[in-house]
Symmetry: C2
Subunit: 235 residues, 2 copies
């Protein structure tokens, strides 16, 4: 079994927030190594639970994660899609006691975690980290606010286009034999990005197949024409 607790400087994930902004001095690097705990999560496993007590802040070393809020009767709303290098549980840095979101692995994932108190101390010691975290928050805010407008303005067809583009934006397209595809997501997951249900996604997919925008084979979605998707949601 692969050793999980590697040092940040040996880690392959160069998108990591810690790696980019927090290894200014040897002292910091050492402290981070000592306080980091790394865990593996299986597909569909919960990483954070809405309502449970905040214990720390987490960074995605590898894998894909969905962050969502519970709605009524199984109708969740996905808030973010997080790929490797991304941050999880940062809202817990605010004064709230409990997580306002759940996070669940969409694939096998390795997550590096720090205790909240340690991380708050780290922020005090590293203005550079704090400032970059501020920028991250500002961008997140821009992003969620755009999504809010989109959900309020888009119809079902536009929402499905938006969901696919969000997926591509967050996770990129897998390439095989020069074909771009989105893989391994249920219709339900896609629906929950934009507040729909799986039937509605299937129906719009049927339209998109007619329009030569995509083809599907099970959970593999071949993207044939990304430009058309973008046109659908261009305001």
């Amino acid at each position: 079994m692969k050793k999980l607790d590697i040092l940040c400087c040996e880690c392959q994930n160069n998108n990591c927030f810690i790696k980019k902004h927090c290894l200014d001095t040897d002292t910091l690097t050492k402290e981070i190594a000592e306080n980091k705990s790394t865990n593996r999560y299986f597909k569909d496993q919960h990483i954070l639970m809405e309502g449970s007590f905040v214990d720390g802040i987490n960074f995605v070393q590898s894998g894909r994660v969905k962050v969502f809020k519970n709605g009524l009767q199984e109708k969740n709303q996905i808030i973010r899609l997080v790929a490797e290098g991304g941050i999880l549980g940062h809202r817990g840095l605010s004064n709230r006691k409990t997580y306002s979101i759940s996070a669940q692995a969409l694939s096998e994932a390795i997550i590096c975690s720090f205790d909240k108190l340690f991380f708050l101390e780290l922020l005090k010691k590293s203005p550079n980290l704090t400032f970059n975290l501020l920028l991250f928050f500002a961008n997140e805010l821009n992003h969620v606010e755009s999504t809010l407008r989109d959900l309020s303005v888009f119809n079902v067809r536009e929402k499905v286009a938006k969901a696919l583009l969000s997926l591509i934006d967050s996770f990129g397209l897998s390439k095989s034999n020069n074909i771009n595809y989105i893989s391994d997501l249920t219709r339900q997951n896609i629906a929950e990005i934009v507040g729909l249900n799986s039937n509605q996604v299937s129906k719009v997919f049927a339209e998109f197949k007619e329009d030569k925008i995509l083809e599907t084979k099970g959970k593999n979605i071949k993207i044939l024409n990304i430009k058309k998707l973008e046109q659908i949601i261009s305001i």
Copy 2:
């Protein structure tokens, strides 16, 4: 005419972010006084324009402001309601060149502004300010994410209840003769908080009157039973 450029220490607005977190030293206090510019805006006047170049960050000294994103054909989405003490244009601190939102005065408002570069320098000098701004962003993020879920899950009746509660949360209730009321907002404004149109708000108001939740007289909305409003949107 009232002099606008008062010193922060003479300002009556004790909710002000600058006043609370940024007057640690005399040097800072002096710098802030020198770099602050204060302006009056009339009702309905634009304070920030989506798409225009970011010039600074703004604080509401007095008055009420709506922050919104343009949708298609007059259908805007209100993102935040900001009362005195609130921050405007903070998303501009991110790396983006242009504002992602518009802001418009809902009443006469006095706004204190700082140049973006000055404010970024200020953040470097005051870790306390930076950290508190980080907390502010975290709370904003929680707030917008909750709204995102609500818009995706709520029906029209629930959305109107949510809009009224948002207004009360942001601006409080005006009191006169022991009666609580929301004042001075068009149905269109209320609708845009939750992605509806003014007709829909009027119709739900008719229901709410039947249910003794509120009474209206023009733009004055008497809130008779806030508990019932909360019940409507409790998940």
